[in-house]
Each structure stands twice: as structure tokens, then as C-alpha cells.
């Protein structure tokens, strides 16, 4: 019988939002004991993330517990509150760190130091400690103090500049891939640092600059521009070379499919299926140059078809194609359902909801079943009592002083 690969690894997680919490969730999936630290004065900023989906203000009982994004990236963790600005909260945070292998935080660079919880302090609490910081721009350089969410780092990494309609302005990315990107790079860094510590006994303070972690996504494009000095224009959905590649209308209201003839063989298959037999389109360069006319021919074929029918015909011919799915479609997608990418969890305040599960499938090691994201301060007694040895009277005193609690201040 094997357990999780990270069984026995304990994590103090001071991170908030998406990137840091996703990092620690990846570790929890493999057995790490993740203790998420919030405070009643400073709850995770994703306990207020629901507005992105709402038409206007909502009246919700305990709104901070009804947040889809928070509840999705904090499964499998224990949650405590500690007012880190208070002397007692600070002392307990350091006592907690003395029991862990890893600290994770994603504030701007000076925040942890100002709280008296910088690397110099924490590494003294625990020999061999590994700490991961996920600043947007890094701890050095002229932009280091600047704040960011995903659209900021994506824009400064050059990633946003590759998204946009042909020859028009750039389009900020709607899905914020910068966050899951930093999260998995952070988790990879932890695995690497654990191997280093196993071999040398040495811990370290890892820095994932979120903008630097993004640039490899456009690494080839940057390499080309560095060599030639020529910035390629935005191309919309088309390929600069070869194709056709595009998003084409199918039957129905705002329904589309994506089609990509990325190789000569796939172009031949597409041409044969759709009857696109003009000799002028034989070379990839000619197809790219004439893509507007080619796109119109493809659209003529797609427009009179149902999306699923068109995709099935294209895939049967070996042409990469898929419907443009919205959120509801994704949750219903037969492949997503068959492969169990989402699971449902029953959680206080919100009932049963679907959440994305771990993406790694391991043949031998065990993945830890997800527990629901903790309610605010849910594990205060379990962690501060069980792990740090505080008794009921001490816990009650901390609650009285507002060092710990289960409701945000002011609610």
C-alpha cells in the first residue's frame, strides 16, 4: 500500500487569490497537510470574487462562504485565522512555521517582512525550511513594488500582445491563465526544492516572479523578435504560415467551431472533405496569404451545419476541430464527464457543487480525496489546539481579543 507522495509534508499557506492557493492545492492532492492562514481583518481576497459573475449586488447570507473561486482552489486544506498584525497572532504564526516544511505567500515583496514574517525570520524558526514567494514582478527591479492581477502580468510578459483581431489592438486575456501558470510553476519548484533538501539538508527561499514565469509561453516569438527586430502583426485566429486556422460559425445563436489545419497532411484532409481543390492553395505560404478567401470557403461549409456534426466529420477526417464551448458546455462535455475532470463536493453554505479535480493521474501513488474548502477559521481549534497545544481557555482568550475568529470583522 502506498500513500501520497507528499505525505508528512506540512505547509503554512499565507497566500490568497488564485496562484498561491492553487500551488498548495496541488501539494494537498499528493498528501501534503496544508494549513491556510487568513485573518478576520484580512480574509482571502477571493472571498469576494463572485461579483465577476453577478449582474449586480447580491444579498447573500455569509457571502464570504459562497464564493465559487475561493471554494474551488482551497479544497483539501485546513483553514485557520490569525491576526498577523497583533503580537500574539504573529507569535503563533511563527510557532506554526516552526512545525512546517514549507511556507507559501503571494503578497507584494515587502508585506511578509513588514509583518515580521520574512525569510530571514522564518528560516530561523525552522532549519531546512522551504519558502515560496510569488511576487508579480520579483523582489528586485524597478517594478518590484507594483501590484498586479493576471491581466497586468500577461500584458507585461507580452502574452496579451499575441491575442487580438488581425492588425488591430491587443486583447487582454479573459481567462487569466497567469494564475494557474504561476501556481503550477510554484508547485514544481517545491518538488524540486524537496529533492534538493533530501540530498543536502538545505532549505531555500524560492521566488516565482509571475511575469517571468509567463514569458516562456511566448518564448519562441520573443526569440524571433530578438534576432530579427521584426514584431509579427496580430493575426486573429489565422496562422501566419499555413492553415487555414479559424473560428467559424455553425448553426445556432452565437455558436462556433474551431478548425486548425496545422500540417500539410491535415490541410489535404480538410481540402478533400470540403472540396477546396484550388491549386493556388497548395503551399502553406499561399494559404496564409489568401486566408480571407479560404476562411470564407470553410465558413460556407460550416454555416449550414450543426456544430457537433461538423466537428465529427472533421475529426473523422483527421482534422483538428472542436466546438467553441462556454462554461455550461464544458461541464456537460462528454469527455470531461467520462474522464471525471470535475467532482462534486458538499460544502457548508453552498451545498453540492462541481469543482475541477487534480489533473495528474498516478498509477501507483495515492491522490488524497478532496475535502471542501475550509470555512473561515474552521480549523482554529484543531490546528492551534492540536498542533500548537493551546487549551480551550487560551483559544477563548484569543477569540475575545480578535486574534482568531470565524467571521470577517465588520460583518
Amino acid at each position: 500500500v502506498t500513500g501520497g507522495i507528499l505525505d508528512g509534508v506540512r505547509v503554512a499557506d499565507f497566500s490568497m487569490g488564485w496562484a498561491g492557493p492553487l500551488l498548495t492545492q496541488c501539494l494537498a492532492d499528493h498528501g501534503a497537510d496544508v494549513i491556510k492562514v487568513e485573518s478576520c481583518t484580512r480574509t482571502d481576497w477571493w472571498r469576494n470574487s463572485r461579483a465577476l459573475f453577478a449582474d449586480g449586488p447580491e444579498q447573500l447570507e455569509c457571502s464570504w462562504e459562497q464564493q465559487p473561486l475561493f471554494n474551488a482552489v482551497n479544497e483539501g486544506k485546513r483553514g485557520i485565522t490569525l491576526d498577523l498584525a497583533s503580537a500574539e497572532g504573529n507569535r503563533l504564526a511563527r510557532a506554526l512555521v516552526a512545525t512546517v516544511d514549507l511556507v507559501v505567500e503571494n503578497y507584494t515583496p515587502r508585506v511578509m517582512g513588514n509583518l515580521g514574517l520574512g525569510w530571514d525570520v522564518l528560516s530561523g524558526e525552522r532549519p531546512g525550511l522551504i519558502m515560496v514567494s510569488l511576487p508579480a514582478f520579483g523582489s528586485t527591479g524597478p517594478w518590484s513594488a507594483y501590484k498586479a492581477t493576471a491581466f497586468v502580468t500577461e500584458s507585461l510578459a507580452g502574452v496579451s500582445s499575441r491575442c487580438g483581431y488581425a492588425y488591430e489592438g491587443p486583447m487582454l486575456l479573459s481567462g487569466s491563465p497567469a494564475d494557474p501558470n504561476s501556481g503550477v510553476i510554484g508547485a514544481l519548484s517545491v518538488a524540486l526544492a524537496l529533492r534538493h533538501r533530501r540530498r543536502t539538508g538545505e532549505g531555500q527561499h524560492i521566488e516565482v516572479s509571475q511575469v517571468e514565469a509567463l514569458m516562456p509561453h511566448v518564448g519562441a516569438e520573443l526569440l524571433g523578435v530578438a534576432a530579427t527586430g521584426v514584431v509579427p502583426p496580430r493575426t486573429g485566429n489565422a496562422r501566419a504560415h499555413g492553415g487555414p486556422r479559424g473560428v467559424y460559425p455553425v448553426r445556432g445563436e452565437d455558436r462556433w467551431i474551431a478548425v486548425d489545419a496545422d500540417t500539410d497532411a491535415r490541410w489535404a484532409a480538410l481540402a478533400s472533405l470540403l472540396g477546396l481543390d484550388e491549386p493556388a492553395w497548395n503551399s502553406p505560404a499561399a494559404r496564409a496569404a489568401d486566408h480571407a478567401r479560404l476562411d470564407e470557403r470553410v465558413a460556407t461549409w460550416t454555416r449550414e451545419r450543426d456544430g457537433a456534426e461538423a466537428v465529427a466529420a472533421l475529426q473523422a477526417a483527421g482534422v483538428p476541430a472542436a466546438p467553441v464551448q462556454n462554461a455550461a458546455d464544458v461541464l456537460d462535455d462528454p469527455h470531461v464527464v467520462a474522464t471525471g475532470l470535475f467532482h462534486t463536493s458538499e460544502r457548508a453554505h453552498v451545498g453540492e457543487k462541481p469543482y475541477p479535480g487534480p489533473v495528474l493521474r498516478m498509477s501507483r501513488s495515492t491522490l488524497t480525496p478532496r475535502t471542501p474548502a475550509p470555512t473561515l477559521g474552521e480549523h482554529n481549534a484543531e490546528v492551534l489546539g492540536g498542533l500548537l497545544g493551546l487549551d480551550d481557555a487560551e483559544l477563548a482568550a484569543l477569540a475575545d481579543q480578535g486574534v482568531i475568529g470565524t467571521r470577517p470583522v465588520g460583518t
Binding site: 502574452v159 494557474p180 516562456p216 464551448q325
Partner: protein
């Protein structure tokens, strides 16, 4: 604690059977953190050798930008796995490595007898990275990053509401999947070093793409709202504004008056369109705002906004990324000399691990550059190699 700097994956050898973007990015990360990666290429080479961009100016399979980006610091062995003799050599190599990273389709993996390779090589970690995984209705579907983005929900929210949905524009799903595969690989290595047992690690690009987009799936499940496309319109949660030399990105600006006073350097502040209910008035205010924002430079806008603690950015074009003083001061980009491509600028460490840092030693390999050296390690002599070359089993 010694002062010697060692790499995180020192001593780990990886056999890389992947091509394209996702698999090679996985092994590029492993190479960057110190693993020895031997890339097996067929006689035609990795297809990304034909992809460009072309740093040396003209197309050259030894100097494709995409290939160079994804394969720095690896060795290349040119081996034809379609031949029995090629598969026999692969089997011998598998005896000697810690990790196999593959990206074959389920059908091709059966044909090459790779699906259950950890049964034959119980200490081996086998990371298997595919578009859709090894089971489920799409397992044999063809995909590219455009297709993954569409299927996973990324494209439906990208673009203007009255125009076609937009591709995210770069190979983000593939890179993200490569990163998850690298994480799974290192975790399995940690386990194998302790238990003496390897295992198979399955990762699919589609699983990564679909689960990385929390906004829409979980948000929809909670609220019943399906997010649509908002483009760069003023009512989008984040959007661009035109400036004199390009675009900047903004979200809700709370301290409107102070912000524009500082940015524009005048107390003649444009009207906030968000406060206007009448569509015509609102449109006029947006046009007037754009006219004013077009008088500012992107760098000045970005730095003024951030100095006021307002969340905003400039949208950098790729040449501006390369020239940004911030990245230069941090020494992010590195230049590596390549025999065919010349001085090649590479992106730097995705993460900085001071005690076990990033730093693949060499440039990307020429096709089959290391065939002789790697096969010599199996005990093959010059005559063996010549015979294999003549039979087209190996090249270079």
C-alpha cells in the same frame, strides 16, 4: 550546509520521446533544473524544426525558433522507432534512464509497446502526455492549442461580442500541460528514489486547459451565469485604453479624479463613463476619454498609475518586452550561441531557486548530434554504428 551550488535534478536521466510543444516544454523544464535529457527524434526530426520563427533569417531545420526555445540543453539522438532495430535500442536505453517522457497517441503507444513500459522497467517513471488522455470519447481526436482553447472554454469569452470568438493567441494550453507533466515527473522521481518503484503519470492537455479556467465553470455552477465576450469595451472587467504609443490595460479606477489629474497633469479631468446611464452620453464620454488617453505614453501611464497604487499596466509588444529595463536589471533573458542560429535570446528561469538554480548548459541540439556518443554508452562500437546508419536505423 555546503557552499557548492548543485542542480535540483542532478543525476536524473530522462529519455524524451516527445515532439511539438507540450512534451518538449516538460523536458525543457527538467533539463533547466539539471536533468540530463536525451531527446529521441525520428529521421525527419521534431516537426517544430520546421515551425519558425527563423532567427537566422531563412528557414533552416537546425535553426527554428520554436525548436530552439523548447529544446535548449538537451541531447539529440536520431533513431527510427518504426524499425525493429530502433525499438531494440530504445529498450536498451530504457534500462539506463530514470524517466521516460512520451506523448504517443494510445494507438501508437500500443504499437511501440510503451503503454505498460513500467511493467518491464519497474524503476522507471513514465510520464505520458497526450492531447486528451488515454481514455474517454476524444482519446483519438486531433488537437492543437486553438482546439484545446475552444473546447476548454477559453475562446468563448475572448473577443468582441458581435464578432467571432478569439484564440488566446499563443500555445498556453500546451505550455501549461508541460508544466503539470514536469510537476508529476518530479513527484514520481521523489517517490521512486524512496521506494525503488516507478510509475506512470498521465497528463492531458485538455484536462489542464479545462480545469485551469475556474472563472467560468465553477462561477456558472454557483450563479447560473455564462460569461460572454466583452472585448475591450468599457463595461468589461478589464480592458485596454488607447494611448499615444499603443495600449494600456485598466480595470475599475476608483479614485477617478485624482488618477486622471496625475496621469494627464491637469485638473481638467475627463468624465467617468461608468457614471452615465444614457448610452449616447456614455459613448460620447468614452470617445472623449480615449481622445485624452491618446495624449499619454504607455510607460508614463503605467508608472503613474502604479505609483498611485492603481491597478493598471502597459500592454507591451514583444520588442518592448525585450527592451524593458526591469527584466534587464533582473538578468532575466540569456543569450546562448548556437552553431546555426547564432546568438539566440532565451527566456530565463520560470522560478528562481537560489540553492538549486535553473540553467541549462547548452544550446538546442542539431538533429542526431549526440547519436554516436549516446549509443557508445550502450557499448556499441564504430562498426555497429556504421551498420545501423547504413540501415537507416540511426542518423548522424
Amino acid at each position: 550546509v555546503g557552499g557548492t551550488v548543485v542542480t535540483a535534478l542532478a543525476g536524473i536521466t530522462v529519455l524524451d520521446l516527445t515532439s511539438g510543444v507540450a512534451g518538449p516544454w516538460c523536458t525543457a523544464l527538467l533539463a533547466g533544473f539539471g536533468a540530463e535529457v536525451v531527446k529521441i527524434e525520428g529521421p525527419a526530426g521534431d516537426p517544430t524544426r520546421a515551425a519558425g520563427p527563423w532567427p537566422a533569417g531563412a528557414p533552416d531545420p537546425e535553426a527554428s525558433g520554436l525548436f530552439l526555445h523548447l529544446n535548449r540543453g538537451k541531447r539529440s539522438v536520431c533513431l527510427d522507432l518504426e524499425q525493429e532495430a530502433g525499438r531494440a535500442l530504445l529498450e536498451r536505453l530504457l534500462d539506463r534512464v530514470d524517466v521516460l517522457v512520451g506523448d504517443h497517441s494510445p494507438a501508437a503507444a500500443e504499437r511501440l509497446d510503451l503503454a505498460d513500459v513500467t511493467v518491464r522497467h519497474p524503476r522507471l517513471v513514465h510520464t505520458w502526455l497526450t492531447p486528451f488522455g488515454t481514455e474517454g470519447p476524444y482519446r483519438d481526436h486531433a488537437a492543437t492549442d486553438l482546439v484545446h482553447s475552444a473546447l476548454a472554454g477559453w475562446t468563448a469569452t475572448q473577443g468582441e461580442p458581435d464578432r467571432e470568438p478569439l484564440f488566446v493567441g499563443s500555445s498556453i494550453p500546451s505550455h501549461l500541460a508541460g508544466q503539470h507533466a514536469a510537476l508529476g515527473t518530479v513527484l514520481a522521481v521523489l517517490d521512486a528514489e524512496e521506494s525503488g518503484r516507478g510509475q506512470r503519470v498521465d497528463v492531458s492537455v485538455q484536462a489542464v486547459a479545462a480545469t485551469s479556467l475556474l472563472y467560468d465553470s465553477v462561477g456558472y455552477a454557483y450563479t447560473g451565469h455564462v460569461r460572454g465576450r466583452r472585448g475591450n469595451r468599457w463595461d468589461a472587467p478589464w480592458k485596454t485604453l488607447p494611448v499615444r504609443d499603443g495600449w494600456v490595460g485598466v480595470t475599475t479606477i476608483r479614485e477617478w479624479e485624482v488618477f486622471w489629474m496625475v496621469v494627464l497633469g491637469t485638473d481638467d479631468v475627463p468624465v467617468n463613463p461608468s457614471g452615465l446611464a444614457d448610452p449616447a452620453e456614455r459613448a460620447a464620454a468614452i470617445a472623449a476619454l480615449y481622445e485624452r488617453s491618446r495624449t499619454v505614453d504607455k510607460r508614463a501611464f503605467f508608472e503613474a498609475a502604479q505609483d498611485l497604487r492603481v491597478l493598471a499596466c502597459e500592454v507591451l509588444e514583444l520588442d518592448e518586452v525585450l527592451a524593458a529595463p526591469h527584466f534587464a536589471e533582473r538578468g532575466y533573458f540569456t543569450t546562448v550561441e548556437h552553431p546555426k542560429a547564432g546568438a539566440v535570446v532565451h527566456t530565463g528561469p520560470p522560478a528562481r531557486l537560489p540553492a538549486s538554480p535553473w540553467g541549462p548548459a547548452g544550446p538546442a541540439p542539431l538533429l542526431g548530434e549526440d547519436t554516436a556518443a549516446v549509443l557508445a554508452g550502450l557499448g556499441l562500437d564504430a562498426a555497429d554504428l556504421e551498420r545501423l546508419r547504413a540501415a537507416g536505423v540511426v542518423a548522424s
